[in-house]
């Protein structure tokens, strides 16, 4: 009889504590992020449309008034963190193994699914700030070959000669460019108007000589995003291609339009902060 009483007490306690937990801490949820690649046409922000080499329509204009079109746009987003006003914090899980990569997202304008990132297991709470790295930092590359989005054979973002990942790859054409680009996916060296901006450089060694072009960027939201198991908040970030060529430093398409090494990519990399922007949140 005594034993029976003890058992009931124990089970009762267990049961109660389980209920209490459910009331206080809510289950983690998901947080979706969409990267909308945009540009202004006649002062109206519009979704980009890619074209193919040889097309002489130039729908976009850079800060210097030079026209251009786009044949390829691709960039890495990694090491995403979310923060909230009450100390909420989420750091996306990062992993780079032969079997695959986690936390490294490759946003490609030609692949709509790649523009949507779904973070899972985000602790319940409100969030009003996102931080991410444009590019792949040392944690994704120092230890050697990895799969998934980091697969050097398939990502089309890997420099063999200076091993590392390109952070942002842009290819396109401009009537003011004088072509002759090399090492590109979509533009031939014979294209008289070709342009290639392959921005890379990941060795972040204080006092070192290497050019580091990855960028760690933070944006705050004007409305809080609420995360819990049954909610599906969705953040829309904008990537404005025209600001890639302006904002911090106006890029002149008659200058070096054949960028394939870190030092040449510095100006474009410094524009990234302005090219990305918070747009809105769907709750």
């Amino acid at each position: 009889m005594k034993k029976f009483l003890l058992l009931t007490a124990l089970f009762g306690a267990l049961f109660l504590s389980a209920c209490k937990d459910e009331e206080e801490a809510k289950d983690p949820g998901t947080f979706a992020i969409t990267f909308d690649n945009m540009a202004l046409i006649n002062n109206v922000q519009q979704q980009l449309s890619l074209t193919t080499a040889g097309n002489t329509d130039y729908p976009y204009t850079n800060e210097m008034g030079q026209q251009f079109n786009i044949t390829l746009l691709r960039y890495y987003i990694s090491a995403i963190e979310l923060d909230g006003p009450n100390g909420e914090h989420f750091h996306d899980h990062m992993e780079a193994t032969a079997a695959g990569a986690k936390g490294y997202y490759l946003v490609d304008e030609s692949k709509p699914a790649s523009q949507e990132i779904l973070l899972t297991d985000v602790p319940a709470g409100t969030y009003n700030k996102i931080t991410f790295t444009v590019g792949v930092d040392s944690s994704g590359i120092v230890d050697g070959a990895a799969g998934g989005n980091l697969d050097p054979a398939t990502c089309n973002m890997f420099w063999n000669w200076n091993s590392g990942y390109i952070a942002v790859k842009f290819e396109g054409q401009s009537p003011v460019s004088n072509g002759g680009v090399g090492g590109t996916e979509t533009i031939a060296g014979t294209d008289p108007n070709g342009m290639a901006y392959h921005v890379g450089g990941w060795k972040n060694i204080p006092g070192g000589v290497f050019v580091y072009n990855n960028k760690r960027l933070s944006y705050t939201f004007d409305t809080n995003a609420k995360v819990e198991s049954k909610l599906e908040p969705e953040l829309h970030m904008v990537f404005d291609v025209q600001k890639l060529f302006g904002g911090h430093h106006a890029i002149d398409f008659t200058g070096n339009h054949n960028v394939h090494k870190p030092a040449d990519g510095v100006d474009v990399a410094n524009n990234l902060e302005h090219a990305f922007a918070y747009d809105h949140i769907h709750q």
């Binding site: 032969a98 079997a99 050697g144 070959a145 054979a153 063999n160 091993s163």
Partner: protein, 358 residues
Amino acid sequence: MMNSRHAALEFIILCFNFFTMKNLLPFLLLALVFGGCQKDELPSAKYSFVKPAHFPEPVYPLDRNPVTKEGFELGKKIFGDPILSRDGSVACNNCHVKGVAFADPQHPFSIGVDEREGLRNAPGIANMAFMKEFMWDGGVHHLDFAPPNAIENPLEMDEKMTHVLWKMNQHGSYPALFRKAFPDMGDTITSPYLLFALSQYQNMLVSATSKYDHYKLGDANLTANELEGLALFEQKCAACHSGILFTNQEYRNNGLDSEFADLGRGKITESPDDMGCFKVPSLRNVELTKPYMHNARFKTLEEVLDHYASGVKPSATLADELQQNGTLGIPLTPTEKARIIDFLKTLTDHEFIQDTRF
């Protein structure tokens, strides 16, 4: 309560019965048999990475890609397979030949598909597991990322990694070999596993059994001439060719040219201080790896020593060690040169180039 206590007791009695002498005997015999085998190396140890006692810790993250017999054998097969090249004509071991410590025995500049001439001399591939960076300019920071440079270089294999993988996935034996070597791999062969296999093979290529190594470990003597050469080497060369690997793994300009056709390290760091600097090469097996320097400038060790003594050319990035007290080069008499060469030949590792595993 009563029941469980009883069960425990029963179990103890059972164990006790089992381990009476009668039952132990066969185990003891077995242990003896296996213990006896240990004199000859266990087959598995032959195919795992063993750091030589007098070497530093390896740089390669072996826990991430440990060497296994299956992975090593696969890597060896791939290293010798021209499937890696566009037209099936060039394998890694066209340019990295075992008999000369995995350097190129014939060509000053390596020769790729369609007899295309490369831009640099192929270095030997030994002790890669201990290297921080690869290539003459150190542009590759990890051994896994060395192969794509050959495979996708138009002057070498002129192929695409994706196409190599496509060919391997269609192949009669590769898919099964990959699955055996990498049980966690899915159905398709992907590039990290291809690169892992090649790294496993190359990590095993450890050269640590030259005459000099045996001398270091106390089981061989050097001749008087060799010892004299060693002393001179330590005094005049070891600032750069230092330690047991005979390289400090830095990038220096050793005065081959005053103007640089090849920017070397400068191409990677984009710093003016590094223009015309190249990785200090290991001198292990140097007797076998001629011609010498990134641009194959010298055919013999005698020419190399003549260069250091009297051929060093001035430039903004020339190493300080090669312009002491306002004179270019390293002062060396003809005898000193000969003694240094005597010593360098003690770095030839015959056991390494004859190792049947490789």
